[in-house]
Symmetry: C2
Subunit: 203 residues, 2 copies
């Protein structure tokens, strides 16, 4: 069976790009094929159906997404440092892949959207031991008493939303894309300071 470079990969990459920016409903099989420079029939020849191909792309994105979480938490810095570094990395990651948050959220909310076993991703994050680390820190009085499930939500809110809301904010505050990007660099520092200050209050 063939090299997985060439055609199959070309379609997969094109699909990724198109799906990420337009979503499942927002694009057509022919659009993906054209973006790959290949015949429409090849999409189904290699991936059986549009949905099947989408599932592949979606799970890839989800994995990439979760991995970027796991990476930092696995290191052996202090919890406070980890948090700050994670926010840094997250902003860097999102600068390169700004469509991922919107993509995941949207397709997660579509009916018959997500058919993935949840435990996989949960386990991956839990396996870094970051949760136990938090509990310890809380018991030692070094970390604010807060439900552990709120922490990812706090971080993700402040990292993901700004990227997703770029167009909306540009509209509401009538600013250009450059202005927004420039402002985002400052915003990022506020976010890091605010979250760390809140989660690790000074005595």
């Amino acid at each position: 069976m063939g090299k997985d470079s060439s055609t199959e990969e070309k379609i997969r990459n094109a699909a990724r790009q198109v799906f990420l920016s337009k979503g499942f409903d927002g694009c057509t099989s022919r659009e993906i094929a054209k973006a790959a420079g290949e015949n429409v029939a090849l999409v189904n020849y290699y991936f059986r159906s549009k949905s099947q191909l989408f599932k592949l792309i979606f799970e890839d994105a989800m994995e990439e997404f979760v991995n970027s979480m796991v990476l930092v938490f696995g290191s052996d810095r202090s919890l406070k440092e980890k948090m700050a570094i994670f926010i840094e990395k997250e902003y860097d990651f999102l600068a390169k892949h700004p469509e991922i948050p919107s993509f995941l959220l949207n397709e997660m909310n579509r009916e018959d959207g997500c058919s993935i076993p949840p435990n996989v991703h949960f386990e991956k994050i839990a396996s870094t031991g970051v949760f136990e680390e938090c509990i310890k820190a809380q018991q030692a009085g070094k970390m604010r008493e807060i439900d552990l499930r709120s922490i990812p939500l706090l971080i993700m809110s402040n990292c993901h939303y700004p990227v997703m809301a770029k167009n909306l904010m540009m509209h509401l505050q009538s600013m250009s894309a450059d202005e927004f990007d420039q402002n985002l660099k400052l915003h990022r520092e506020h976010v890091a300071r605010m979250l760390v200050d809140y989660l690790f209050p000074e005595n």
Copy 2:
């Protein structure tokens, strides 16, 4: 010309519900008509086209959205109080209309998505005088030195994202809808405290 109750409104309401939950690409004219219990042709009879009808719904949602901002900032409380109240109101509002943030963001990012004059909404917010109020507070050392455009972004991030990410969080943390909603109540208080503490540091 007829009563604007009955058919026209029935279609408009159905369209709102369907558009909000599925987006422009995610639904069909026939689906809207069926939801309204009327014939397909009536959609175009009253609204000329699917796009036209969508534009109406979209601008309505946007207005509702901006108004919920303006309402609080127009009151005559202290800035610190306004902020806290606003977050409260926003969470209440979003509990009733959880689809609006996703809807606005998505359709804002669609190509040929937003064809609305931006200045309208910007002016509406600016006209509350909240910006001048912030500048004053910053000069008096009562408010953190931060670009004013970051403040709405901070607030919206922490109010809107949690609602949008409900399904994603349920999945990642393998929790039920009830668990999530319960957690959201606690989360909301953290958000209010964190934002106020950060924007109005004690001395």
